[in-house]
């Protein structure tokens, strides 16, 4: 049946019932709910319910300390140190990544030269590398047979390596953070009004002043937002840490260890919830500053 044949005939009925054109508001809302239902059912059954249980499990007693696992995290040095290490490492990585990729991204957004698109491609395609691959790339650079070890063996007769330590994590986290910052900074610079810079320059401001007073404040929300995404991603980066060595004391590895090695489900649950709350807050901040970017974890 064609659409037209269903229509009540004549313009009169068309004019007399304007409210039925898309259906009354209630029906519209019903359709919206109906369309959302499958996604919501799956989300509730497989995420909301299990995660609520995880939150409750974290309140159960930790076998070694005898008190609630959340309290154990707050009162035991070992967990506090690992929490501080993870937060500190992620903060430093985000700051360094924003600084490095901020400069490179601004340069690429503003200059035109031969071969620029190749540089942009090189700087952005590692965006989709999973954490495990990034870990392996760090081993390629600083592992037992890595580039640094070969170079130092040839020059000084000894193997230098950094891959299996916090320095290795730092390099790995930096590796997956830089592409994220570059794409955001380039987009923010494109949106920045160039006439402001020209105005400042014509009023006699030098390059440093223009950078400090016009460009950086102009893209500050983007810098903060992308920094928060890097922070959240680094906090939860399990794959990279897992490849580089499971002995380091950072939160994702602690969770994995408590769960698989000690079958301490209460502690694993409590640590996951703490980690989840931190990354969720960082990503909420990022979205509030500059919507649009979801920030996938690696």
């Amino acid at each position: 049946m064609t659409a037209a044949s269903k229509q009540p005939s004549g313009a009169a009925s068309y004019l007399s019932r304007p409210s039925t054109m898309v259906g009354p508001a209630r029906r519209k809302r019903f359709i919206a709910l109906f369309a959302l239902l499958p996604a919501l059912v799956i989300f509730c059954a497989f995420w909301l319910l299990p995660f609520s249980r995880l939150i409750m499990m974290g309140a159960e007693a930790d076998p070694s300390s005898g008190i609630s696992a959340y309290l154990t995290i707050l009162t035991h040095r070992q967990y506090l140190i690992s929490l501080a290490t993870t937060v500190g490492l992620s903060l430093v990585v985000s700051l360094v990544a924003v600084a490095i990729a901020g400069v490179a991204g601004f340069f690429l957004a503003r200059q035109r030269f031969f071969g620029k698109s190749i540089l942009v491609a090189i700087l952005t395609f590692p965006l989709a590398f999973p954490g495990v691959v990034v870990g392996f790339l760090v081993i390629m650079l600083g592992g037992r047979q890595g580039a640094l070890a070969q170079a130092s063996l040839w020059l000084f007769g000894e193997r230098w390596m950094f891959a299996y330590s916090l320095a290795g994590l730092f390099i790995g986290y930096l590796y997956f953070s830089i592409p994220r910052v570059i794409t955001t900074v380039m987009a923010a610079c494109d949106n920045l009004d160039q006439s402001l810079e020209e105005a400042a320059r014509s009023l006699g401001a030098n390059t440093w002043q223009v950078t400090k007073d016009v460009i950086v404040p102009g893209i500050a929300p983007a810098l903060l937002s992308t920094g928060a995404i890097c922070f959240a991603t680094s906090m939860g980066a399990f794959g990279t840490a897992f490849t580089l060595g499971t002995r380091l004391s950072i939160l994702p590895l602690n969770i994995y260890g408590e769960f698989t090695n000690y079958a301490n489900f209460a502690m694993a649950a409590a640590l996951s919830v703490v980690l989840g709350v931190i990354t969720w807050m960082a990503l909420s901040l990022a979205r509030r500053l500059a919507g649009g970017n979801l920030g996938a974890s690696v």
Partner: protein
């Protein structure tokens, strides 16, 4: 003169960053193709390691492809209607619901996987099948599909188009399949590429949920890094890159496509 110097300095800095990004990838590709990495290139180029990876890990590659396609199908079937529902809901509700659906991305995969394991791990049949991993992938990729489709819906003047169709007497079904879907095709495409890329590369959730019989490509990668010689890990990484880089190029192309429409 001064600006010329500044340009050179900034260019060299950017080139250094590029080197940092590309050198380890190039080293890994070379290692996957040389006969003996410790001897170096003079030992000769070979496809032996790629071949060996294929024999050892072909099933992980097939499982990853199967998972990615199943995940794509489900995210389209539930994600496109969900985006439409969000578009049609009151703004306050839509924001709250989108925030909820985003939680599996905002919380580390490890936590999501742990929650799933503790809740459903005791159902033996389910736990041992690839569907258990599929659930994790769907949770993780769904927000990307919803967001991609919703942003196209918002810019496509969909309410006006739909109203026009309704005023001509089109039923809801006719409107949904005749107006809504064709108008957000570019969003579905962008979301689909994103979903497939993320699913193929997903490790944090999958590592916790996999069993010896349900290993995906990234799980196999971690396995080979830990227990195989460097050449095999490198060759395996090479195969992964060959699968993922075309997808990335396509994502950029699709992004440009939707930008032009705006």
């Amino acid at each position: 003169m001064k600006s010329r110097l500044r340009f050179t300095l900034q260019l060299s800095f950017t080139l250094l960053v590029c080197l940092f990004m590309i050198v380890p990838v190039a080293m890994s590709v070379m290692a996957g193709l040389t006969e003996n990495y410790f001897v170096g290139l003079e030992s000769g180029l070979t496809l032996r390691w790629v071949n060996e990876v294929w024999q050892l890990y072909a099933d992980t590659i097939w499982l990853s492809i199967k998972l990615a396609l199943a995940c794509l199908l489900i995210t389209i079937l539930i994600g496109v209607p969900a985006a439409y529902g969000l578009l049609r809901s009151r703004r306050r509700w839509a924001n709250a619901l989108e925030e909820l659906l985003l939680l599996p991305v905002a919380v580390p995969g490890l936590a999501t996987a742990l929650a799933l394991l503790l809740a459903y791990g005791s159902y033996r049949e389910f736990r041992g099948s690839w569907l258990f991993i599929l659930v994790g992938h769907v949770l993780f990729t769904l927000p990307f599909m919803v967001r991609a489709v919703l942003s196209v819906m918002q810019t496509a003047k969909l309410p006006q188009l739909e109203e026009a169709a309704a005023s001509l007497g089109a039923s809801f079904r006719q409107r949904f399949f005749g107006v809504v879907i064709p108008n957000c095709m570019s969003g579905i495409l962008a979301g689909a590429l994103m979903v497939v890329t993320l699913s193929i590369g997903e490790f944090n959730i999958t590592w916790m949920l996999h069993t010896p019989l349900t290993k995906t490509l990234p799980v196999g990668l971690a396995d080979s890094y830990a227990s195989m010689r460097l050449e095999i890990g490198s060759a395996y990484t090479l195969i992964f890159l060959v699968m993922v880089v075309p997808l990335l190029v396509a994502i950029q192309w699709a992004g440009r496509l939707t930008e032009q429409r705006r």
